[in-house]
C-alpha cells in the first residue's frame, strides 16, 4: 500500500510543479511582490488539499488512512519542491553564464529574475543558486503538502459532526445585505478615514457585494410575504446607491448594468432557447451604431452627404435618445430575424460557429465600410440622453438608466420564461424533434428567441453609445460576445438573477482589481473550463438546468440521451433503473 501512495504523490507533485512553473513564467510572483511567498505557499496548500481529497466518487483507501495520506502528500510536496528548485537552478545558471532568457520568456528580464524567486527568498547568492535554496524549496512545498493533507483530515472530521440547527441563524444571511449597505453608507460619510486611500475601491467592492448578497439572500428567503418584503427593501437600497456613490463607482456600475442588460438578452437565446450564439455582439453593435447614426449623422460621411442633398441640416441629432429608442429596438429585432432565418436549420456547435462568423462579418463591415461608419476613426459626439432639458449623460444617471433598463428587461424575461413561449423555448432546447411533434412551431419560436434577444442587446448598445459618446469598431470585438456569454454561463444559464451576479463578478471585479488586469482573460478562461467541469450549471442555477446537468452520471461510452421525461422528472428513473436506456 505504501508504494501506490508514493506513486500517487509523485503524480500530484508533478502537477504541482507544472502549475508553479506556469505561475513563474507568467510572472505572478513578480506582480505579488513581498506577498508572493505566503500567497503561493497558501495556494499550493489548497491545491494539495484538493488533489489529496479526491472527488466525491473517489473514496479510496488513501483518504481513510492518515499515514498513507501523509505519505502521498509529503512525497508529492518533496517532488514538486525539488523540481522547482532544479528549474530555478537552471534559470540562474543560464543567466549567470550570459544567456539572456528575456527574448524567449517575456517576464524573464534580469531584474525580474530575482523577483521571480519570490518562491524562495534569498535563494540567489552572488549570482548562483545557494545550496540552501534547494532545501528551502523542498521544505516549503513539503510543508504546504502537509498542510494540505491535514486539511483533508480536518474536513473529514468536520463532516462527521452533526451540523447545529438554530432557526434564528437563518436571519443572518437575510440581514447581511442590509449590514453591508449600511457599511457602504458609512464609508461615504464625511470624516470617515477607514481604508485610507483605498476607501473608494473598498466602497465600490462593498456596493457590488451588497447587490450580490441581496440577490443570494432573496433566494434563501421563504417564498411569499417574507421574500416580497425583503425584495422591496433591497430594491429601495439599490435605487439609493447611485445617489451616494461617486463618479468612478457609478461609472463602473453603469457598465456592469449595461452588461446585465446584454446578458439578460443573451440569456434568452442561450439559456432559455438553448441556441449558442457567439456573435451576440453584432446586435449590441447594431443598437450602438443605429443610435449613433440617428444622434450624430455628421460623423458619417455618406449620411451627412445624403442629408445635405435632402436639405436637412446634418450638424444636429436627428432624433433624441427617447425618440431613437423604438428605432434601435426595431433595428435589433430585424437584425435578430435576419440572423435567425439562415440559421434556422442549424443546431448546436454549427450554430455557434456561424453566429461567430456573423459577428466577425459585422465588425469587418464596420471597419471597412468607411463611407458609412467612418471606419476605425469611429462615430463621434453622440448625444447623451436628455430629460426635460436635463442632461442624463453623467455616470450617475447612466447607472440609473442601466438599473431601470435591467429591471425592465429582467421583468420581461421573467414573464417570458413563464409564458407559453418560454415553455416552447425550453421544450425546443431539450429536444427539437419532440417539441415539434408536440405542436411547437419551431420557426416562429426560434426567430422570436433571436429577435427578442437581439432587441435587448440593441437597447444595451444604445445606452452604451450614449454613455461613451464616441464609438469605434474595436468596441465591438469578439471579446464582448465572450464576456457576455461567460457572464451568462458563470451566473447560470437560464437564470435571471445569475446574470446580475455574473456581470458583477466578471465585469465589476476586474475594474476593482485594476492591478491584475493583465491576468483577467487567463483567469476567465481557466474559470470557464473549471466551471464546466465542476459546476456546469453556474452560480445560481435555474432549477431545470440543475436537474438536467446533475442526473446520475451517464456511462462514458455510448450516446444514449435520456428521454425528455427523464430529464424533467428524474425521480421517475429510480423506480425503474433500466427504463428508458437503450
Amino acid at each position: 500500500m505504501l508504494l501506490p501512495s508514493v506513486q500517487r504523490g509523485l503524480r500530484i507533485g508533478a502537477i504541482a510543479f507544472a502549475i508553479l512553473t506556469y505561475l513563474v513564467l507568467v510572472g505572478l510572483p513578480l506582480r505579488l511582490g513581498d506577498l508572493a511567498l505566503p500567497i503561493l505557499a497558501g495556494a499550493m496548500a489548497l491545491f494539495f488539499w484538493l488533489a489529496l481529497r479526491g472527488g466525491k466518487s473517489k473514496q479510496d483507501v488513501f483518504n481513510r488512512q492518515p499515514a498513507l495520506l501523509f505519505t502521498a502528500g509529503l512525497s508529492g510536496g518533496l517532488t514538486a519542491g525539488l523540481l522547482i528548485a532544479a528549474l530555478l537552478a537552471v534559470f540562474v545558471n543560464l543567466t549567470s553564464s550570459g544567456v539572456r532568457l528575456q527574448p524567449i520568456f517575456d517576464k524573464m528580464t534580469p531584474p525580474n529574475l530575482a523577483a521571480l524567486y519570490g518562491v524562495a527568498p534569498g535563494a540567489i547568492v552572488g549570482g548562483e543558486l545557494s545550496p540552501l535554496a534547494w532545501l528551502q524549496q523542498a521544505l516549503l512545498l513539503t510543508v504546504a503538502s502537509g498542510v494540505g493533507a491535514a486539511l483533508v483530515l480536518v474536513e473529514r472530521w468536520a463532516r462527521g459532526r452533526p451540523t447545529p440547527r438554530i432557526s434564528a441563524l437563518r436571519w443572518i444571511p437575510l440581514l447581511l445585505p442590509i449590514a453591508l449597505f449600511l457599511f457602504v453608507l458609512w464609508l461615504g460619510m464625511p470624516g470617515v478615514t477607514f481604508g485610507g486611500n483605498n476607501r473608494g475601491t473598498i466602497r465600490l467592492l462593498a456596493a457590488m457585494v451588497t447587490i450580490g448578497a441581496g440577490i443570494l439572500a432573496l433566494r434563501a428567503a421563504h417564498p411569499g410575504r417574507e421574500r416580497q418584503l425583503l425584495s422591496l427593501l433591497y430594491l429601495a437600497g439599490v435605487a439609493y446607491l447611485p445617489f451616494t456613490l461617486d463618479q468612478f463607482q457609478n461609472s463602473v456600475l453603469g457598465i456592469v448594468f449595461i452588461f446585465v442588460m446584454m446578458g439578460l438578452g443573451l440569456n434568452i437565446v442561450v439559456g432559455f432557447a438553448g441556441l449558442l450564439d457567439l456573435g451576440y455582439v453584432a446586435f449590441f453593435a447594431i443598437g450602438a451604431y443605429m443610435y449613433a447614426f440617428l444622434s450624430a449623422p455628421f460623423s458619417s460621411p455618406w449620411l451627412s452627404a445624403q442629408l445635405q442633398s435632402l436639405g436637412i441640416p446634418a450638424n444636429a441629432p436627428l432624433l433624441s435618445f427617447w425618440m431613437a429608442l423604438p428605432i434601435t429596438m426595431l433595428a435589433g429585432w430585424i437584425g435578430g430575424v435576419l440572423l435567425g432565418i439562415p440559421v434556422l436549420r442549424l443546431r448546436g456547435d454549427y450554430l455557434a460557429i456561424v453566429t461567430l462568423g456573423f459577428g466577425e462579418i459585422i465588425r469587418l463591415f464596420m471597419l471597412n465600410l468607411a463611407e458609412l461608419t467612418n471606419g476605425p476613426r469611429g462615430l463621434l459626439n453622440i448625444a447623451p440622453p436628455y430629460l426635460f432639458g436635463y442632461n442624463l449623460g453623467n455616470p450617475r444617471d447612466i447607472f440609473i438608466l442601466g438599473l431601470i433598463g435591467s429591471a425592465v428587461i429582467a421583468f420581461s424575461a421573467y414573464r417570458l420564461d413563464n409564458s407559453r413561449l418560454g415553455r416552447a423555448w425550453i421544450a425546443m432546447r431539450e429536444d427539437q424533434d419532440v417539441a415539434q411533434a408536440t405542436g411547437v412551431n419551431l420557426v416562429r419560436t426560434k426567430l422570436l428567441a433571436f429577435a427578442i434577444g437581439a432587441l435587448f442587446a440593441a437597447l444595451a448598445g444604445q445606452l452604451y453609445a450614449a454613455r461613451q459618446t464616441n464609438i469605434f469598431p474595436e468596441n465591438f470585438s469578439l471579446f464582448v460576445s465572450i464576456d457576455a456569454l461567460s457572464l451568462v454561463i458563470v451566473g447560470g444559464m437560464g437564470s435571471i438573477p445569475g446574470v446580475v451576479l455574473g456581470a458583477l463578478a466578471l465585469k465589476g471585479l476586474p475594474e476593482v482589481l485594476r492591478g491584475v488586469d493583465e491576468y483577467r482573460i487567463v483567469t476567465f478562461a481557466a474559470l470557464l473550463v473549471t466551471m464546466m467541469i465542476v459546476r456546469p450549471e453556474g452560480i445560481i442555477p435555474s432549477t431545470r438546468r440543475r436537474r438536467e446537468l446533475h442526473e446520475e452520471a451517464e456511462p462514458v461510452v455510448g450516446e444514449d440521451v435520456p428521454s425528455v421525461l427523464e430529464r424533467l422528472a428524474p425521480e421517475l428513473k429510480s423506480d425503474n433503473p433500466d427504463g428508458g436506456k437503450k
Binding site: 436549420r345 456547435d349 456573423f358 463591415f365 470557464l528 464546466m532 446537468l549 462514458v556 461510452v557
Partner: protein, 335 residues
C-alpha cells in the same frame, strides 16, 4: 431554398465573368494566385484534418485547435533559433534539410503535448455531458492558450527568418513559384498521405474508424476508447503543429493570436468538405485556399474583404448544403 442557392451561385458567376472581362488580368496572374491558394490550402488542410478527426470521434468542435497550431508555430520558432545558433542553417543543403525537418518535428511535438494535455484536462472530464458544455470548455481553453502565450512570450510577434537556401523561387512558364510554397505544398501532401495510411492501414486506424462509427459497440469489441481518443488528438495536433511551422515560414510571423483566424478558416474548410470526412477536409481546404486567393480579384472587391469571403462561404455552405461537399448530414441529425 435550393432555388435561392442556385440564384446566389448564378449571381456570383455573373459577377466573376463581368469583372474578369472588364479587368482583363493576364493568365499568369491567375496562375500565381492559384499557386498561392494551393499553398495556403495545403496548410489549411492539415489544420482542417484535426477538426475533422476530433469531430468524427467526439462530435465536438475542438475550438482550441487553431491555438494548438499556434503553439506549434512558437515551438518551431524556438527550434529555428536554436539551429540558427548552431549554424546548421548556413551549412550544406543536407544539413539545412535535416534542420528544417527537425524544426517541423519540434513544432509537431509542441502541438502534440498541448493537444494531449488539453484533452486530458479540459475535455475528458466532460465526456457524456450535454453538448454545449464541452464546447464552452473548448472556448475557455482556446482563450487560455492564447493569453498564456501572450503572458509568457510577450506581445511582440516572433519573426521567422528563412534560411538562404529556401529563399527565392523559380519560374515555370512565366509563373513565379517560391521554394517555400513548393516545400509547404509537398510536405502537406506527404503528411496527408501518411495520415491516410495510418487511418486506413493500421490497427489503431481501424480502431479509430470503429470508435467514430459507434463508441459503445467499439468498446464492446475490446477497443480502449480513451486511448483511441488520445491517439486522435495526437494525430490531429501533430498535423496542426506542422501546419503552424509552415504557416510561420509562409507569413513570416507568429504571435499569440495568429492561430485564431487560420483555425476558423480551417474549420470552414472542414465544414466545406463535410465534417468528419477525411478526404473531404483535404478537398475543402484546397478549395477554400483557392477561393480566398482568387476571390477578391475575381469578384473585383478590395483584398481587405478576404476574411469576409471565407466566413460568407462558411455561412452559405451551412445554409445550403450543411453536409458539405462530400459529407453526410450531421449538422441536424447528430447535433
Amino acid at each position: 431554398m435550393r432555388g435561392l442557392g442556385v440564384l446566389i451561385l448564378a449571381l456570383v458567376a455573373w459577377r466573376v465573368v463581368t469583372v474578369g472581362l472588364a479587368e482583363g488580368y493576364p493568365a499568369t496572374f491567375w496562375m500565381s494566385q492559384l499557386i498561392n491558394g494551393l499553398v495556403l490550402g495545403g496548410v489549411y488542410a492539415l489544420v482542417a484534418l484535426g477538426y475533422t478527426l476530433v469531430y468524427g470521434i467526439l462530435l465536438m468542435i475542438n475550438f482550441a485547435h487553431g491555438d494548438v497550431m499556434m503553439i506549434g508555430g512558437f515551438t518551431g520558432f524556438f527550434a529555428l533559433q536554436f539551429f540558427m545558433a548552431l549554424g546548421w542553417l548556413q551549412g550544406p543543403a543536407a544539413l539545412v534539410a535535416l534542420a528544417l525537418i527537425l524544426i517541423v518535428a519540434a513544432g509537431m511535438f509542441g502541438s502534440v503535448l498541448t493537444g494531449v494535455t488539453l484533452e486530458r484536462v479540459a475535455y475528458r472530464p466532460l465526456r457524456g455531458a450535454p453538448r454545449l458544455v464541452p464546447l464552452i470548455s473548448a472556448i475557455g481553453a482556446s482563450l487560455f492558450l492564447q493569453y498564456s502565450v501572450l503572458l509568457i512570450f510577450g506581445v511582440s510577434p516572433r519573426v521567422y527568418q528563412k534560411p538562404a537556401l529556401i529563399e527565392g523561387g523559380f519560374r515555370a512558364g512565366g509563373v513565379f513559384v517560391p521554394y517555400t510554397g513548393l516545400i509547404i505544398f509537398v510536405t502537406s501532401l506527404f503528411l496527408m498521405l501518411m495520415l491516410y495510411l495510418i487511418v486506413q492501414r493500421t490497427k489503431l486506424g481501424r480502431a479509430m474508424r470503429a470508435v467514430a462509427e459507434d463508441k459503445g459497440t467499439a468498446a464492446l469489441m475490446g477497443i480502449d476508447v480513451d486511448r483511441v481518443i488520445v491517439f486522435t488528438f495526437i494525430l490531429g495536433s501533430a498535423l496542426a503543429g506542422a501546419a503552424g511551422v509552415m504557416l510561420g515560414f509562409h507569413n513570416t510571423v507568429v504571435k499569440f493570436n495568429s492561430g485564431f483566424i487560420p483555425g476558423l478558416k480551417a474549420f470552414t474548410a472542414a465544414v466545406l468538405g463535410g465534417i468528419g470526412n477525411i478526404p473531404g477536409a483535404m478537398v475543402g481546404a484546397l478549395l477554400l485556399g483557392v477561393i480566398e486567393a482568387i476571390g477578391p480579384s475575381a469578384l473585383g472587391i478590395p483584398t481587405e474583404y478576404k476574411d469576409i469571403i471565407a466566413f460568407t462561404v462558411l455561412v452559405l455552405i451551412l445554409i445550403f448544403r450543411p453536409s458539405g461537399l462530400l459529407g453526410e448530414v450531421v449538422s441536424e441529425k447528430r447535433a
